[in-house]
């Protein structure tokens, strides 16, 4: 029973926190931008989440007549499923982890690659020009940044000597990896933003340029799934940052799970802060930044870490 109950509970908590994050983001943005944000429904506007859900579920679920119906429906599911699957390998605490793969890190990279399909298929099946632009941008951007993301975490793998996330966390009992891997951390965060296409790298859905990008034609809960998928992505990337670079559940005094949640929240807030602060680079600038700076930097980091490892052994 236990093996079945835990994942379900984690799933529910994740969905709930992704939904709540929509409210948190708006309130926090409000705070930073000298305005209120949603504060009318329920205490502190907390029930806004419920109101939004009711709205999304009861809205007309419209599939444009010119769209490719099957793929159009499947696309938003992919992103949500992939993001939820990604959490399967996250070690929330020493006791709480759904599965501990030996190559959990590779699983994570595979999952985040697969979610590209969601965006791509959504854009192509919508059969609309703005959606097509969004899909093209998203595909190029996510595939490119996937490369740097993968390369940046290899330093962590070298240091810990394992692909298992649990072992990576345990390897950080002496020293969190963000200190020796500060460069990798920077690259991972940037790639993570690009992967979850959040501002400032929200070019696939840049509303001022291409209206809403790949989800222009989506409505109702299908749009909701993209939305939740995006927030799950934010939480997932934050959880990964914590696991790989900030010692996962480790920390003094407080119980491990609390430490994990605390650290993850800090990075979630950082993601939101970025959205409040930065403008959006141009698409070609983003790509050339990736290939001209990120890639050499990631390779250099990998080389140096490898050399250091060989030298100390």
């Amino acid at each position: 029973m236990h093996e079945l109950v835990t994942p379900v509970i984690i799933l529910l908590i994740l969905l709930l926190s992704a939904a709540t994050l929509t409210w948190v983001e708006r309130r926090i943005l409000g705070l930073w931008q000298d305005r209120y944000g949603p504060n009318r429904v329920g205490p502190f506007g907390l029930l806004q989440v419920v109101a939004d859900m009711i709205k999304l579920f009861t809205k007309e679920d419209w599939i444009p007549p010119f769209a490719d119906k099957v793929i159009f429906v499947i696309a938003p599911m992919i992103v949500m499923i992939m993001m939820l699957l990604g959490f399967a390998i996250i070690p929330f605490s020493p006791q709480l982890q759904i599965v501990d793969f030996d190559n959990g890190l590779l699983f994570f990279l595979a999952i985040s690659s697969l979610s590209v399909y969601s965006v791509m298929l959504a854009g192509f099946s919508s059969n609309s020009k703005y959606a097509l632009f969004g899909a093209l941008r998203a595909t190029a951007q996510m595939i490119s940044y996937e490369v740097f993301m993968g390369l940046s975490v290899m330093g962590v793998v070298i240091l810990s000597g394992s692909f298992s996330l649990r072992e990576i966390v345990e390897a950080q009992s002496e020293q969190w990896f963000f200190i020796p891997q500060i460069v990798a951390l920077g690259i991972f965060i940037i790639a993570g933003i690009a992967e979850s296409h959040r501002a400032p790298f929200d070019l696939p859905e840049a509303e001022h340029e291409i209206v809403a990008g790949f989800h222009t034609e989506y409505s109702s809960m299908k749009f909701g799934m993209f939305f939740i998928g995006e927030y799950l992505g934010v939480i997932l990337i934050s959880a990964m940052i914590v696991t790989l670079f900030f010692g996962g559940w480790q920390g003094p005094f407080l119980p491990p799970i609390l430490w994990f949640l605390l650290k993850t929240s800090v990075f979630v807030l950082f993601f939101i802060l970025l959205r409040a602060a930065t403008p959006r680079p141009r698409y070609d600038q983003l790509m050339s930044f990736g290939w001209k700076y990120m890639l050499p930097l990631a390779l250099l980091n990998l080389l140096l870490t490898g050399a250091y490892r060989l030298w100390t052994q």
Partner: protein, 585 residues
Amino acid sequence: MTEGSDKKQQLLSAITQKFGEQFITEQVGCGRVLTFWVAQTQLQQVLCYLRDGPDKYLMLVDLYAVDERLRQHTSDQPNCDFSIIYQLLSVQHNFDIRIKLALIGDYPTAASISTLWQNANWYEREIWDMYGIVFTGHPLLKRILTPPTFVGHPLRKEFPCRATEQPPFSMNEEQLEAEQQALKFDPADWGMSRQSADSDFMYLNLGPNHPSVHGVFRIALQLNGERIIDAAPDIGYHHRGAEKIAERQTWHGFIPYTDRIDYLGGVMNNLPYVLAIEQMAKIEVPERAQCIRVMLSECFRILSHMLFYGTFAQDLGQLSTIFYLFIDREKLFGIIEAITGARMHPSWFRIGGVAQDLPQGWDKMIREFIDYFPARLDEYDVLTMENSIIKKRTVGIGQYSSKEALEWGVTGAGLRATGMDFDLRKARPYSGYQQYEFEIPTADNGDCYDRCWVRVQEMRQSLKIIRQCLDNMPAGAYKASHPLTTPPMIDKSKQDIETQIQHFLNVSWGPVMPPAESFVAVEATKGINGYTLYSDGSNTSYRTRIRTPSFPHLQMIPHLSRGVLLPDLIAIIASIDFVMADVDR
């Protein structure tokens, strides 16, 4: 004034000598603007001479027509059914010149000058749309402000002015379908091809409902990937026929309509209109009224620039700036509200002054704001102007030179960003601007970044002007005691029957202006906003021509956007700072 008339005489004699007296007829009594009629055969040569000649009338400021058929007072002009007016500006000499062309016939023909000035293209389309005057040699004589299915030419005098003069409007399904079909973009109409040797082009319809076209502006893009090959702007979705409405409203009653021409400019729009009427009626405005006008106009310049600044950052993906600026805008709107009783469209200027005196405590509120705002501006400089992504997105994008700016009729910050310090407030001070100390910020590159930078600096200068208004607000009346002042000061009309009658007439029937023509332009928030008024000696205007800055600015977009990427176009649109109400009128 004498210097101006000397210049006028010199220029006129030079032209008459060159082209022969029989072709050139001066029209006197048009203020400081030199106005003459020219024979149709000589028009092109005269325009060419003025453009390339010694005085360099490089800018075609305005081009419009007048339906002369119902005009009563025509003694000072040749007999004609329609006239077309070409207004040129020499920035170098700060001198206007107006050339009139007389046309005979119900649907006359004139030669297009779109080869001489780039921006003549749209102006001529507008004239065709509004009057049915055909321009031979025009590259694309299509409707511009009215829908493609429109029947009739609205500014012709026989076209009904009120809805009640027409049968009720209705639209059935078929008509709706036809209307929508007519709006479909066909690249062939614009001479664009569907493919090149190695790729098929994509046509993207940006607008009229798009998050960053600032209103209802549609632009059809020919794209190769995300690179823009060509663009075809489509305007007119915000056309309300303000110039037609002016022909049925009283002089006084049209003031609220002017507020909504550039709906971010508030009372700044009233200014050229009331100044033009005052010029016609020869009303001297008391100093206090002038100072109040300057102060409020500068407040609205700041308000408009604030919105520009915020949306500029927002269009580049920076979300927060606009929220901070909206808070500051709220503060300033609160002051505007306390003074005028309204926020965005106070319609507060009157013929001969302003509507009311300043309320008690106005100075405290203004002082608080001008002490508070500079620090905020500095903060936004760090947040936005010094941001490296913003710089990367805007420096070198949408660049044009002073020469191009003049050729396209660009005024305001767009012109000053190219290094030209032409500002009407300095060049020909109105409403007492000569008494204020301020600078004209200019930049050198003429790109998106510089256009924004100039506006940010202009806000600082406006604050400086407002502070001077605050410190030196003259005492006295807020309205002139001239009989055409509307509404006249009530205290006088209680004293004797003559002023009582005048008061009654002005507020009921509306003031009657002497037959005249007048033109006044001001440096509005977005560039030169000018009103040309034709009075035929009645209580309404015979023709009101509104020269708005955004109209030529928008026309330039295809020129700027060829070869850039889609996000660059958004930066260009953002940096131009237009509102569609100002374009379509």
